[in-house]
Structures are given as structure tokens and as C-alpha cells.
Symmetry: D2
Subunit: 345 residues, 4 copies
């Protein structure tokens, strides 16, 4: 089978270059074109000395002829790129937030701009394959979920779907610094970030409406989510600790832990990248891979369900999931190019 030709718009951010890393080993796709404003004209391997396997690619200012494109632009700019590509008949996975929220007005409220293409928004599919595999298969435009939403939604989806928990959910997330991107900021300056842990964005992180939207879709009931993201001093990894009260009928069950384990395992039985684990997961155990580990735990003392999930924010939280979506959209094996185990230690 001939490989499809793939391009990356804005390869020079962390999500973009991670896409390149994964694509150069993909069995059914060939990376043929990358763009990046500030580095246009340079060889990819000169800007990123770690890159092997794409030695001769030149960073361009516009995508050349491709069958499939990943767009990794900042929000608002991304939508415009996507619109052009879709018009050219190219299938797209958009890494930005520009097609994740189904209500166009949310963009005014949360991102401060008017969405330029509500009709395209209508057609975009939310790219969480564990929930929307069928829709993704036939989509031309997939909105790749945010890193925090991926971890949080995967953690809570089975419980919400099954109506095990009340509508009040607390999500306490811990993220490595690569989640803050490659743009220089004080918070990600080494001497500020090292030996430091802090919460941020309590007034409303932009990933909140995404989490609420998806958890609400699951069983139609509005959820009441408190989401507090934290930075911890590491490069990769998100660990989300989610709390919700069990509904009364479940608290009283004797075998509730066993039952919930079974519900989670059943929910993810066809998901190659989700593993329901029996011990609190460590971000290191998914490092560099597309895996998500999920640990549901019943705190019998308080009648609460605690679910802990972890991912590599740049893989399952960004580039890996994007390739998983491409695989599904293109009829490839869902795991193609994503089989390498995590790197430990």
C-alpha cells in the first residue's frame, strides 16, 4: 500500500515536533511537508537536532501537496488555516481548540473571538476515539481534544455514563511544563519552575468548557465541574485526580469497588490505549507513549469515588491522539505508529 502524504502546519511548537517524531516511523503515512513561520527556509534537522528520519525536510511557509494535514497553530489562527485546507479537500486534524466547542458562542466567552466558520464547527468531530470512534471514521475534520480534557474525560466517562456519581465533580490536575508550550514565559523559566508546584487559572481555565461539554453529552445531565490545574516540575505528564460523590444506591453496595472496576474495564474493552489499573498510576509509566492509565477507587469512609488518570500530555494529550485520529479517519489500524512502549525510567 502506498503511504499517504502528510503535512504539519506549525511544526515548531512542542505538539508539532512531537507529531513529526511519531510520523517519521508511521507505517502508512509519510511526512512530506512542514511549515513554521520563524524557521521557514531551514532544515527541520537543523532546527531540531534530535530529528532523525526526516533529515531532508525543509521548513516551508506553506504546506505543499498533501493528503492529510495536522494544524498546530494557536487558537483563532488555526481556524483560518483549517478552513483553507478543508476547502482544498484535505482531511484535517486540528490540534488547537478552534473546533472543540460545539456552541460558537463559547468562543466569544472563553477565547475572545467570534468563530469564523460556525458551519464547519458543526461538521467537526470531537476527536476522543474512546467516545467517538464511529464519527471519527467518516469525518473530514477532527478537533483534537485538549490535554487536560483527555485525561479528565477518560477518567470520568464510565462513571458519568453509568450514572454512578452525582453531578458534582472536582478535577485536580497536575501537569508537566511542556503543557505550557515552547513559547518563553516566566512560569516556565527553569529557575522559576524547578522545585515548584502551584495551581493556576482558578478563575476559569479554557479547558473547563470542553470538559463540561463532553461530560454533559454522556448522559444528558449537566455536570457541575470544579477544575484546578497545577504545574509540577517535570517536562511531560498529566495526572488528574477526580472526585465525585457516589449516588446513594451505590454507596450502600457491598461490592461497589469490584462493580466499578468491571464497569470501567467493560467501557474501555475495545480501547487499545486505555488501561484500567489496580494501583495508583504513575505518569512515568505512560511517558512518551499514547497510553492512558486509569485507576477508579472507592473511598468507603466518605462514599466518594476517586478516579486517577494519567497520560503523556504531548502524546495522548496532543500528537499521539492526533495520529490515532488520523489512523481512524484513514482506515489504518488504530494503533499504527503508536505501538512503542513508554520509556522508563
Amino acid at each position: 500500500m502506498e503511504k499517504i502524504k502528510v503535512g504539519i502546519v506549525n511544526v515548531t511548537g512542542y505538539a508539532g515536533i512531537e507529531l513529526a517524531r511519531l510520523l517519521v516511523r508511521h507505517p502508512a503515512a509519510r511526512l512530506v511537508s512542514v511549515t513554521g513561520r520563524s524557521s521557514a527556509g531551514q532544515k527541520l534537522a537543523d532546527v531540531f537536532p534530535h530529528m532523525t528520519g526526516a533529515a531532508d525536510l525543509i521548513i516551508e511557509s506553506e504546506l505543499s501537496d498533501v493528503d492529510f494535514a495536522f494544524v498546530a497553530m494557536p487558537h483563532k489562527e488555526s481556524a483560518l488555516e483549517v478552513m483553507k485546507l478543508i476547502e482544498r479537500g484535505i482531511k484535517v486534524v486540528d490540534i488547537s481548540a478552534d473546533f472543540r466547542l460545539s456552541n460558537p458562542e463559547d468562543y466569544n466567552e472563553w477565547y475572545g473571538f467570534t468563530h469564523p466558520s460556525p458551519e464547519l464547527l458543526d461538521k467537526a468531530v470531537y476527536g476522543l476515539p474512546e467516545l467517538y470512534r464511529k464519527d471519527i471514521e467518516s469525518a473530514n475534520l477532527v478537533a483534537n481534544p485538549g490535554c487536560y480534557p483527555t485525561a479528565a474525560i477518560l477518567a470520568m466517562a464510565p462513571a458519568v455514563k453509568q450514572g454512578i456519581i452525582s453531578e458534582d465533580i472536582i478535577i485536580d490536575s497536575k501537569s508537566g511544563l511542556s503543557g505550557a508550550g515552547r513559547t518563553l514565559t516566566t512560569v516556565s523559566h527553569y529557575s522559576e519552575a524547578n522545585e515548584n508546584t502551584a495551581a493556576y487559572a482558578l478563575k476559569g481555565h479554557r479547558h473547563l468548557p470542553e470538559i463540561v461539554q463532553e461530560l454533559t453529552y454522556l448522559n444528558g445531565e449537566t455536570v457541575n465541574v470544579t477544575f484546578v490545574p497545577h504545574i509540577v516540575p517535570m517536562t511531560r505528564g498529566i495526572l488528574s485526580t477526580c472526585y465525585a460523590a457516589l449516588r446513594e444506591e451505590f454507596v450502600e453496595k457491598e461490592d461497589i469497588q469490584v462493580e466499578i472496576n468491571a464497569i470501567y474495564k467493560e467501557f474501555y474493552k475495545d480501547a487499545p490505549f486505555v488501561k484500567v489499573v489496580d494501583n495508583p498510576p504513575h505518569t512515568k509509566n505512560v511517558w512518551g507513549s499514547n497510553m492512558c492509565h486509569i485507576y477508579p477507587f472507592v473511598d468507603t469512609r466518605t462514599g466518594r469515588l476517586i478516579v486517577i488518570s494519567c497520560i503523556d500530555n504531548l502524546v495522548k494529550g496532543a500528537a499521539g491522539q492526533a495520529i490515532q485520529n488520523m489512523n481512524i479517519m484513514s482506515g489504518f489500524a488504530e494503533t499504527a505508529g503508536l505501538e512503542a512502549p513508554p520509556i522508563y525510567p
Copy 2:
């Protein structure tokens, strides 16, 4: 004024050696004797090359003549040491858990041993000066709080005391690795801990009964606490993010954030080491100091109070608080020897 003579039982753990670091600069106390089983007979400065200011101290197997002692033994062993010292008429701050829980039966349940001296337990004062300053003044034995309880109780005390929140409290804590002590373990092996975040002890961390006991004392109502500790890859620091629902009458108030800020500032107005801050605190900003930063935040979307606190687990969470207690027990200025600012960056 002549300095009092002070000793440390088990100087070779992280809490013990941190006590030594702080004591060599104390204006009213002189470190005259230290013990440590494995290193007995060696000079303190040879075992700990960073130590300056106590160059000639030899690590002994038993405390010599002192006016005041800090005991930093593992639980169960600590109680026996403390009993001997109290009999000798020496005032003691115990760093272990052996005198923190007022109900002797809790030791059977949580620590797996029968308390050897319930009557001494009765006389011990819980050494959180922000709550028990008066009792500490006249105590001969003070039980120094655990690191997690210090951060959690200081975060929630004003809200619990004032009846602002419901009895359901979630405490999500992130701790650096020095909290796991100096004893070698896989979890604190560098290559396992670096680039890793994980939760642990979901089935019941030993600091939980301590937190429940103290929050319950505050207004007599039993609290329903879920406590999930996490390790994050740094040496020092605890950040606790605490969640509770506001009682209905408070949710509706318009100025609730302002009111709660005022309650917190009033509660801690005489506490030299607690600072109520206006932005999410960073553990780095208390690093190496006895400070606790507390940030109360009302999530108006969900009607929840979120309180974030941070401390240096080895200072306010152990050795610094112990010295603060000694200061109060000895009639010194509460801040004596603890005035050095945090070290940044």
C-alpha cells in the same frame, strides 16, 4: 540571657538535621547534644558536610544533659524516648506521631501498636501554634503536627471554625520527596521519582486521623475528609488544594470572596508565619522558611470554596514548627531563629 541547652534525638533523618541547621543560628538556644544510632561516634560535620556552626559536635548514642529536647525518632520508638526525657524533667517537642492523636485507640488502628503511655498522651499538646498557642505556653510535651496536617488544617481552620462550609472536605496534597524521609525506598530512588507524579495511600494515610481530629475540634462537628497525597518531583514543599461546598447562606452572598478573605486575615492576624495571599501560592515562595501561604478562593460557578496552602515540609511541616513550639514553651519570641526569608529561586 544565657542560652538554654538543647538536644536532638536522632539527628540523622531529614527532620533531625534540619533542626540542627536552624538551631545553630538560634539566638536563645544552644545545640549541645545530638544522637543518631548508625552514626554514633562520628562528628556531625563529617556525616553532614554542609553543617557549619556546629563543627565540633559528636553524634552520641544518648543525649547528654540538656534543658530541652527534640525527638525525631520513628513512631512507637519515639514514645519510649519521650517518656524517659519527660521523667528526667526535660521539656520535649516530639516530631513523631506518637502524641498527636488524643484517643489512644487510634494508635492501634492507624499505627498498629498499643500506646505505652496514655496518661502522657493526655498531657501532650498538639503543636500547631496558630490554634493552640496558649496551651503550648505551659506544656512540657508538645506533639509536633505532621507535614500534611499542618498545611491542611491551616488551610481549612478559618472556614470550619466559622461554619462557612459543609462537612464534606476534599484535600488533594502534593509533596516533594524529602517528605518520604532519608530511608532508601524505591519510590524515592531518583530515576523512579524524577519526571513522575503519582498519588499514594488512598486506602488511608496516617495523617488522615490527625486532620479529622483537629478539624472536628474546631467547631465540634464531625468532618468527612477525603485526603489524597501525591508525590511530585521536587525535594521540598507541600501544596494542598482543599475543596468544600459553601453552606447555602454563603453561596448567595454577593461579596462572599471579600468576606472570606477578611475572615482568613482576621483569623491569622497574630500568626507571624501565616500569610493570606491574593494569588495562587507557589511552594517556591516558602522554600526553606517557616512560612505558610494560604489562598482562599470562591468558585462562584459551583458554589465551592477552594483553599490552597503551601509550606516547606521540613520547616513549617517539621523542624521549623518544632522550634516555633520551643520558642513558645520557653518564653522566647515566637519567631526567634526562624526569621530568614525563603530562598528564591
Copy 3:
């Protein structure tokens, strides 16, 4: 083509489990058997939750039937295992030091034991493919080089071979903590290793005779090596900064930098895992991969050649190189199973 059956003796150390990670994706080899004393009887995926792709392997106490074995035991024990396997007609790559030094007496001096099989030592090939590819092709036993020697020898081989430098060589190496292994030690306890850099083993690191032996072989002249290893606070990576005086006839040449670059590029023109680079290399740029980046630089002020090399100590410094050796011994493509790019950031 049917895959060969491969086993790992002692999978539970960092080199062993890294071999497993790489082997589960190898196109021509199948991992069929692993051993590990303390964990025998458990599933590999239970002891190492990151492992995917070998989900059903049980850790055994003895290797089952295999075509090829990697032995990752501590020195002295390794030799005995290797002897048994070679007798069974199994090809072996030994990760330990037990077959690296060609003079059996060196084992008495440097490792404190009498070599149990000098005749096997005679037949073993030093597994640095960039120097001994031909010999490795026909070898039944390959001694995988140490991590420090790999970086140091690759850095200096072209210069020594070409007689560019005097015989006095200084090698200043910086290593991440995984080089110290998975066994718990104070030096690799997180709180001791984090925020710390230190030299060690100045009196003679065991990798020194290996470096001296190989550099001496290159042009028959004895080299005079000072080797100082350092630990730096990271998990993976070795950076070696090597210093030597240029011979007089080279100092005076005008284009000496250009000439040396050419010599290095020529020397490694057939080496798929060595890249001669034009800027000081970063360990991050080879992280997780079998690449070695080498940067030769002439300090014209002082007439010295400085060569900086970096590798991932667990890949090119251990498991990756072992697989590279297996590939050559087995007639596979040299790069088989090792093509994945480094992981950045």
C-alpha cells in the same frame, strides 16, 4: 522470515528492562523469555506497569529455549551465566564488564575476582560496532561496552587513530542517575541527587581500564588517561568533554578545524548511530535513542582539541548498543529495532 527467539537474563535492572522495551518492537527478534531473581513468578507487566507489547511474559528463574541471549547480571555473576549459555550453543551479548578487558589479570586488579574463563575471554569481541563491526559479525560472544567508555572512545577514536593528539587525554564525564542502576543507594536517593552535581571515583573508576585498553589498541601507543565521572541531576544521558593537546604539526595548520571535522566525518561515514555535529551537543537530543552526537572543537588559543560526545546511557550506553550488536551478529540490518528518533523535549 521467522523471528529469532531472544531471552534476557536479569530483566529487572534498568539495562534489562530497557532491552525488553526495545525488543518488543524488534522486526526480526521475539522476546520469549526473561529472568529476574527477586521477581520470579510474576508477570513482567505487573512488575513494570509501563510494559506494553509483552503483556503475558512471566519472569522466570531460568531462561527457556532461546536462540540469542542478553545477560545483564552484576559483574562476576555474569561470567558464570554466560559460560553456561555459550555451552548451550546460544549466542550472547553480555552487558556486564566480565568480557570487556582482554587481560584476565585486570579482573583481579579492577574487579577483585579471578576470571573464571580466560579462554572465553579470548574469544569475546568488544562490542563497539563503530570499531569492531567485522569481528562482531562472526562472534558468538560480544562484550557490550560500558556507558562511559562508549561515549569516550567514540569521541577520541578518530583523533587517536589519526595521531592528531598527544597521548595525554582528559575525559570529564557527566552522567544521569540511571547510570547508577536500580539498586537503592544514598547517592541516588532523590533528595540527595536532586539539585546536586558531584564528581566521584577519582581514585579509579572501573571504566578507566576499558577506555585505556581501547584507545591504546587504536594506534598501538599507550595513552595516559585521566577520567573523572560526575553525576548530574537527570535520569538519562552522558555528556563527555574530552581534552588533549594537538600535536605540534597540527597546531600550526590554518584549517585545522575543517580538517578535523573531515577526519571525524570520514571515520564515522558508515556508522548509522554516530552524528558529527556542528554545535555543542545536548544530551536531550539523543534521549531515548541509540544516537551518539560528537562535536570536535579546536581551541586555537591553547592548541587543544576538545571533543564533546553524548549518548543515552541506557540505549547507546547499554541496551541499544546490545541490540545493535545482536543485529550485526545475526545478519539483520544494523539499525533494526533502533530507528525511533530521540524524544524531545
Copy 4:
């Protein structure tokens, strides 16, 4: 005794704010004025939430009335500030490089500007108290040494002074990221710096002429220095490993290690902040303090002297040494305000 009034020009860099941290606890100096361009008008404690003890200081745009000033501006700008202060009759310690090199032409070559005040350069004293204590006592302007030069010169001074070694010296230095300052750069972006070690500035770091100048002064012979700085992933600390051949008459001595230890201890017998140690030093053992640990080691195999030194780059390498200089210039105890032990772990 009344405290002297002290000011800091440019408090907002890492050296500036470290000066503030140390000064707020100084027994004989009072921090009364601080400046900082971007933050002028704000409270120091608002910009730096860790600051306690100077709660009410406002960051100004110009220094108010002071007796003594520290200038922590970038080079070239610093000289202009210093000139104004000296004219006002204020004693100054300049943290920048602007008065370190005695030959004004060196500024054209290494810093790319013409020195604005060669006559002031003439009067400035190089502020390494271990070499120039007497001159510093009577100086009005002291040029605080660079961080790398402090570690390197202290390591080699006794050997150079005593003529033990040949003139060829190699200095391999490893520095934490705070040495790169508070200004945002790619190299100090967390995700780039974490899990990374690299050399830089091989073509000539600006601290090289400073090292050469001072080592040359020591016994009048020109030294031939190769200096390679490296970044390692930690916030604070410099470790320098220095190599030089012993002169022939010393190589042959039997007790050469003992003799050199004695020379080093004698050289630093009056230096309160230098400790000659008997084991390879760890940067962690001086963390947060003004100490310098030095370990001279004779590699008898190769006839080389290896000297390893370590400091905290922001204390002995910047702010601490500046205060040590102020103490000497002002007739205070040399250790005033600098007695706090390092922070471990």
C-alpha cells in the same frame, strides 16, 4: 551601632533579589532603597512574594540616600551607574563585569564597548577577599568576581601561587540554570533545560579573561587556560573540575597528596568561607550559603593535579560575595549576615 543604609540598583534580577534576601537579616546594614526598571512603583513583596522582612520597600527608579550601594545592572550600563554613585561619594560593589578586567582594551575585545571610565577602572579592586582582602578594606569600588571565576580561581590559586603545576590549565565547569539569569531564553526554558546537559561558549566565554588575569597575577607567569562551561539541570550551584600537570619535581614526591593538602589548608587558613575537604564535594553541601568547598586530588597514575571546587553561584558567586566585600569595606565582621548554614537536602 547604627546600621549603614544600603541600596540595590536593579533588584529584580536573581543577583539583585538574592542581595535583598541576605541584607534583610544583616546585623549592621539596613536595606533602605531598591531600584528596578520594569517594576518601579510596585512593592518589593508584591513582585517577589517570598520576601519577608522588607515588606514595605517600594521599587524605585532611582536610589534614594544611601551609604553603600550594590549595582546589579547588565554590563556597560552598570559602569554608568557606578560612576554616578562614586561621584556622590557612595561606596559601591559592582556585580557586573564592568570593573573586573584591569586592561580597558579587554572591554573592547570581550564585551564590545569602550570603557567609559578607565581611571575608575584603575581604582577598582577585584573583589575576591581570599586574594585581596587588604586592598578591599580601603577600596571605594569593588568589582565583584564572576561566578565561574570565583570557583575556578579559588580552586587553582594555591597551586599556581606555589608553582606546583605547569601553566596549562583546563577548567571544566558545570553550572545550574540560575547562572543564566532571570531573562527568558530558550536554553533556560524548563522543558529544554530539564533532563539536559550541554557545554556552551567554547569559542570564548566572557569569564575566561577574568580567570586568566587573576591566575596570571598570582605568580607572574602567563597561564594557558581552556575553560568549558556546561549547564546542568539544577537551579543553583557551580562545580568546577580543574586539571593541570604537576611540575616534574612534584610528581616524584612520595607524599605529594599530603603536601598539597597542607598547602591548600595553609593558603585558606584565614578564609572563613573556604573549606578544604577530604572527599569530592557536592554542590548541595554549599547550597544557599557563601561557602566554597575545595578538593585537591593528585592523580598519581598520570601525574596530574585535579582540583574540584563548588559554590552556590548566586551566593559566593554573586550576592554573598558582594556582602562579604561590603563587610570588609565597612569594617564589619567578614561573615556578618552570611552565617546561615547551607540548606540540605
